[in-house]
């Protein structure tokens, strides 16, 4: 009887989060930390107390060579909060776990794709304020999410594990994100982030290319960095190595 009248103490729900991944290339904290501190000093406040995932996939070292405890301590001193690891061998994951870093599983990723080594992470945008439609995975073949209404300033749409097709405009101040490709059959004036689950083969297509920012697999270009991109024209964006390429469509 009494258990029925007790107020609910908690609810357990799944949640998806946007996190930065610190891909280790060198196992030594003394090599990683100063460079990291230097980079973050140039963006003060940007990552203060930001949770971060330590990426182990690129690390060519034996598990016993990595000083996880030293790394965790050093990160805390930089006011960065490591919360777990992604990728890496079984032994490496275990070594990290002993230092209090549990392995996290990336959404939709069975095996970690080989990432571009110097990917610049896109800062996680402010929390979505407007509800974004959920992707519809009905139909066969590769999943795609279709948006037929203009995406307006302040709206944020994420096609998780899917391509995103927008048949209207994406206005300035809006943000569209897809784990796969992005197609905009209208004007792209906001931000477009393709290959968000670290897929460097993802592309962005827009009928009228006029974006604030485009990003593929963590590489990004703001409007000022678009150079000789065909602004206002039908355009395809893809990643070639670490270079973003803008080519006219058709």
């Amino acid at each position: 009887m009494s258990s029925q009248t007790l107020p609910e103490a908690f609810r357990l729900r799944a949640g998806n989060f946007n996190l930065l991944v610190l891909r280790l290339l060198d196992p030594r904290p003394e090599a990683v930390l100063p460079a990291l501190g230097d980079q973050f000093r140039r963006a003060p406040g940007f990552l203060r107390f930001a949770p971060i995932v330590i990426g182990l996939a690129d690390l060519e070292a034996a598990p016993e060579e990595v000083d996880f405890r030293g790394l965790v301590e050093g990160l805390h001193k930089l006011e960065i909060v490591p919360i777990g690891t992604s990728g890496g061998s079984q032994a490496m994951k275990q070594a990290a776990q002993h230092a209090g870093l549990p392995p996290l599983r990336a959404v939709g990723a069975e095996a970690e794709p080989a990432p571009p080594p110097e990917a610049i992470p896109v800062p996680p945008a402010a929390a979505a304020t407007e509800a974004a439609p959920r992707p519809d995975f009905s139909g066969s073949g590769r999943a795609a999410m279709l948006v037929a209404e203009p995406v307006r300033s302040g709206q944020r749409i994420y096609a998780q594990g899917a391509d995103l097709i927008v048949t209207a405009t994406v206005n300035a101040g809006a943000e569209i994100i897809a784990d796969g490709n992005i197609h905009v059959y209208g004007a792209l004036r906001g931000r477009a982030v393709a290959g968000a689950a670290d897929d460097a083969t993802a592309r962005i297509f827009a009928l009228n290319f006029d974006p604030e920012l485009v990003a593929i697999a963590g590489f990004y270009a703001v409007r000022e960095g678009l150079g000789d991109a065909p602004i206002g024209k039908p355009t395809q964006v893809r990643l070639e190595g670490e270079e973003m390429r803008f080519a006219p469509l058709g």
Binding site: E130, P150, R152, S153, G154, Q155, A168, N171, A172
Partner: protein, 273 residues
């Protein structure tokens, strides 16, 4: 059932209250029983534009807090007998508005009126959210200027996600674009956004274009909704917009620069068109 129409914009100073007063008066002149509610609690203006500021006894906050009955707070217009105004409070803030209170007021007004216009405050905070929450239709007031267009875009997104219709997954709020303070001469000189650009970005049906016109300021200062100034271009443009709102197919006027404005026209811009 009355239709609830929110007049909104995101940005301030673009002409929401002028539009609320003009459209409400225009609908009432067509014989529609119309009430216009000022949601800008703390910065009330609608009563001034409507010329009823000396007749305000109770306001919307009094009604919500049970200090007055709705009928005591409603001010009947002396010029158009199918028009009523529910003023905002000047001495409270937006927290005095509650969704339940507003819901009760709108329900009660629905029985007596054909149209309920909600004059939204600027911004996307509580007052603006409450003004648009119950809307069946929205008149989005936009100036031909980038920041105004972007704020209107934002408010359209809010309408699609935070209105009652959106929450209950009913048919979406019917959206109308009203471009105000349009100056064809400045558009021609490239100082203002072109109408086509505004329409292209916001991608909602165009209800009307109100030209920049001195008659609007004069109307505000004399407490006469500008639609009553039938000589002025702004008044005529509002009249057209009301006609279109009621389903009439009217061509858009005042989109081209007036030919060679003479001294008389420059002095009395509204009168000459």
């Amino acid at each position: 059932m009355a239709q609830v129409i929110v007049v909104t914009s995101g940005k301030g100073g673009v002409g929401k209250t002028t539009t609320s007063a003009a459209v409400a008066t225009g609908l009432a002149q067509r014989g529609k029983k119309t009430v216009v509610i000022d949601f800008d609690v703390g910065l009330r203006n609608l009563d001034l534009i409507m010329g009823v500021e000396r007749r305000v006894v109770f306001d919307i906050v009094n009604v919500i807090q049970g200090e007055a009955r709705l009928n005591q707070a409603l001010i009947r217009d002396k010029r158009v007998d199918t028009l009523a105004i529910l003023p905002a409070s000047q001495t409270r803030d937006k927290d005095a508005l509650t969704r339940e209170g507003v819901s009760t007021i709108i329900e009660e007004l629905s029985a007596d009126f054909d149209y309920i216009l909600c004059d939204s405050p600027a911004g996307i905070e509580k007052g603006a959210l409450l003004a648009l929450y119950f809307a069946d239709q929205a008149i989005v007031v936009t100036n031909p200027e980038v920041s105004s267009v972007r704020d209107s875009d934002r408010i359209l997104g809010v309408l699609q996600s935070k209105s009652k219709r959106a929450e209950e997954k009913k048919d979406k709020v019917k959206e109308h674009l009203l471009v105000t303070r349009y100056d064809p001469n400045r558009v021609e000189r490239g100082e203002m956004l072109k109408l086509e650009d505004v329409r292209e970005i916001l991608a909602i049906p165009l209800l009307g274009v109100i030209p920049e016109n001195e008659s609007v300021l004069k109307a505000s200062n004399t407490g006469t909704p500008v639609i009553m100034d039938t000589e002025s271009v702004a008044g005529q443009a509002y009249k057209d917009a009301v006609g279109r709102f009621l389903g009439e197919d009217l061509p858009h006027r005042f989109l081209e620069p007036a030919k060679k404005p003479g001294l008389f026209q420059r002095l009395f811009g509204g009168r000459a068109a």
